[in-house]
């Protein structure tokens, strides 16, 4: 029983972090219909900027996070202006390819600036552990859950209440119709990329806090796909549920079965869920049986 509780808490907290990392994908997909393969590099850049500010410059953590947010927004805007705006109206798959090229470029820039050596993430998120229902839970996990809850609540409110958020949903639904309503596609796209950058700062900080700041972070993007899909691509709440499901699945498999099965179980679950509910558990249903 103790093991079960431990695995559950562990799976949930991992799921929360994955959900936050997944949020960046959802934000961009919702507004532009593009899978952003460079999202992993966004996490990487955020991790390195925070590390650089805290360790090399020696600033307090909130300054570091602030600078990372500014960098992320600037990066999102520049990418939108220079690369994605000329691609408006082009086939989505070409845009996806552009993000693959972009991920190579960003990865290379990070390597030119900071090299290939992984760095330990500065400890501003408290380490140590607490006992909870007989399970040992690291404090940073509790913080992660808290940060994720706040961030997701923020984004959900943004989508349902703010003018920009609603505009973004309109664009996601139908670009032509949104244009006809007087919504600026450019503005919306720019906003989506900037917000994806911001979410990557939180996601990047949490992931690098656990695994260190290194190029390996960029492949966390892959792990995030099942999360987004299980939850449904166009739902923020879905990303949370997807994160929890995938987190719990790999936690239980790792804790009870093992043998490396924990890497494929999420994908098998993914296939099973997709066969039953083709648009994820919380995605907007648009089933056409053809």
């Amino acid at each position: 029983m103790e093991t079960f509780i431990q695995l559950t808490i562990n799976g949930l907290s991992n799921g929360a972090i994955l959900a936050l990392a997944a949020l960046g994908f959802v934000l961009i997909y919702k507004a532009t219909g593009v899978i952003n393969f460079a999202q992993g590099e966004f996490l990487l850049i955020a991790g390195f900027v925070i590390w650089f500010m805290l360790v090399e410059v020696g600033s307090p953590w909130f300054v570091g996070v602030g600078v990372a947010i500014v960098v992320a927004i600037a990066l999102g805007l520049v990418i939108e202006r220079v690369i994605l705006r000329p691609m408006v109206g082009q086939p989505v798959i070409s845009v996806i390819m552009v993000t693959i090229g972009l991920s190579a470029v960003l990865g290379a820039i990070v390597q030119i600036i900071w090299g290939t050596r992984p760095r330990a993430f500065p400890e501003f998120i408290p380490a140590g552990s607490v006992e909870l229902f007989g399970a040992t839970v690291p404090e940073n996990r509790l913080w992660a859950i808290g940060i994720v809850a706040v961030a997701l609540a923020g984004f959900t409110t943004f989508y349902s209440r703010s003018r920009e958020g609603i505009a973004m949903r309109a664009v996601a639904d139908d670009q032509q119709a949104a244009l006809a309503q007087g919504i600026s596609l450019r503005r919306t796209f720019a906003l989506a990329w900037a917000l994806a950058g911001v979410s990557a700062v939180f996601g990047g900080a949490l992931v690098t806090n656990l695994v260190g700041v290194s190029g390996a972070i960029s492949s966390f993007g892959l792990l995030v796909f099942p999360v987004v899909i299980v939850g449904g691509l166009d739902s923020v709440g879905g990303a949370v549920a997807g994160g929890a499901i995938i987190g719990l699945l790999s936690s239980y498999t790792g804790g009870y079965v093992g043998g490396g099965l924990e890497t494929v179980i999420p994908y098998m679950a993914l296939l099973a869920i997709l066969l039953v509910r083709p648009y994820g558990l919380f995605g907007q249903t648009r089933i056409e049986r053809v």
Partner: protein, 347 residues
């Protein structure tokens, strides 16, 4: 389709023909000469690259049938290549299948497995399908690395050299003829397939699946067929990888390979057989060129430590800039060049 000025087709047969004019027949002859002359003109190093491109062309054509012609996005290419490679390698190494037979078996097995993993396509579209195929990539690779009894697990699978009717195919020169022949056949087969009813059904599904069903195209049947045919090509490419390199290791078929192939057909041009060829050549030859370039820059010592990153930067930027200026790929660029010269110097 657009033919040169002054050519009017009076029968369907003429309209569907691959070649219309004498000039086009002459070009075909020239092409064949170039293909035969090629291995004698390039350095041994570039012959390796040509062979790698040839194998990639077959795989990219397969992927383009699926993605470009039928509109079913696949991120599972690496996994399907692995199925082809391991089937062929295992049959050759363990069961002693004679050379072309193991490849034929690999083609068949990959086609069947590809179809199985294509089943979600019946209910999924677009991104959801892409992720489902990503799942197939992960699952296949997991099986390959964990099913020790079959794949040899921890150690790599060593494949005996191929012998065709007493001729031992060894080295880049011998393999060139095999690969060039198979790549040409694959190109021909795909081009011909696309002008049959099946090919048109694929395109109909891509353009609008509901409309396709209304005009009598059975989406179930044709989506499965698309996965079957495409995976057959990919299986052949995988089998060639195994026999050409004489060894199969799982690290040859990672997710990066799936992305690389997707990049090939997008950069080359989706829904174009020639696009698959340009794309394969581009994605393999350009990094080699960039390497050559950086070798020539070796005098700039201060750049040396960053050279690998700079190479990656140039490569990524090439893809980005290229697609920003021509989102429809190399095939479209080539078409524009042709059109320009057709009217030159009058425009």
């Amino acid at each position: 389709m657009a033919a040169a000025t002054g050519i009017h087709h009076t029968t369907y047969g003429a309209d569907l023909a691959l070649r219309h004019t004498r000039a086009e027949h002459a070009r075909l002859a020239l092409m064949l000469v170039a293909l035969v002359a090629l291995p004698f003109l390039v350095s041994p190093y570039w012959l390796t690259i040509v062979n790698q491109i040839g194998i990639a062309v077959i795989g990219a054509i397969g992927l383009n049938i699926l993605v470009g012609f039928t509109g079913q996005i696949s991120l599972g290419q690496g996994g399907f290549l692995a199925v082809g490679a391991y089937t062929s390698g295992l049959l050759a190494a363990r069961s002693g299948f004679p050379f072309p037979l193991d490849m034929a078996a690999a083609v068949l097995v990959t086609a069947v497995i590809g179809t199985l993993f294509g089943l979600p396509a019946l209910r999924l579209k677009g991104l959801y399908l892409a992720i489902a195929t990503l799942a197939s990539q992960q699952i296949i690779l997991w099986v390959v690395t964990h099913w020790d009894a079959v794949t040899g697990g921890t150690s790599a699978l060593v494949v005996p050299p191929a012998v065709l009717l007493g001729w031992q195919i060894n080295g880049d020169m011998s393999w060139y003829w095999v690969i060039a022949a198979l790549a040409t056949l694959a190109t021909l087969a795909a081009t011909n397939l696309m002008r049959t009813g099946m090919g048109r059904a694929f395109v109909a599904i891509r353009d609008h699946d509901v409309a396709a069903e209304v005009i009598g195209v059975d989406p179930f049947r044709y989506k499965m067929l698309a996965f079957f045919v495409a995976s057959a090509f990919v299986g052949l490419a995988g089998a060639l990888t195994a026999r050409y390199n004489l060894i199969v290791t799982w690290e040859r078929f990672t997710f990066d390979v799936s992305i690389l192939y997707l990049a090939m057909i997008i950069v080359g041009g989706l829904g174009s057989i020639s696009g698959a060829i340009y794309g394969a050549a581009f994605m393999i030859a350009v990094p080699a060129w960039i390497e050559d370039l950086s070798r020539n820059l070796s005098g700039l010592a201060f750049l040396q430590p960053d050279m690998p990153a700079i190479q990656q930067l140039i490569f990524g930027a090439t893809i980005v800039l290229f697609l920003v200026f021509e989102p429809r790929g190399l095939a479209r660029v080539w078409q524009r060049v042709q059109e320009y010269f057709r009217l030159w110097p009058f425009r």
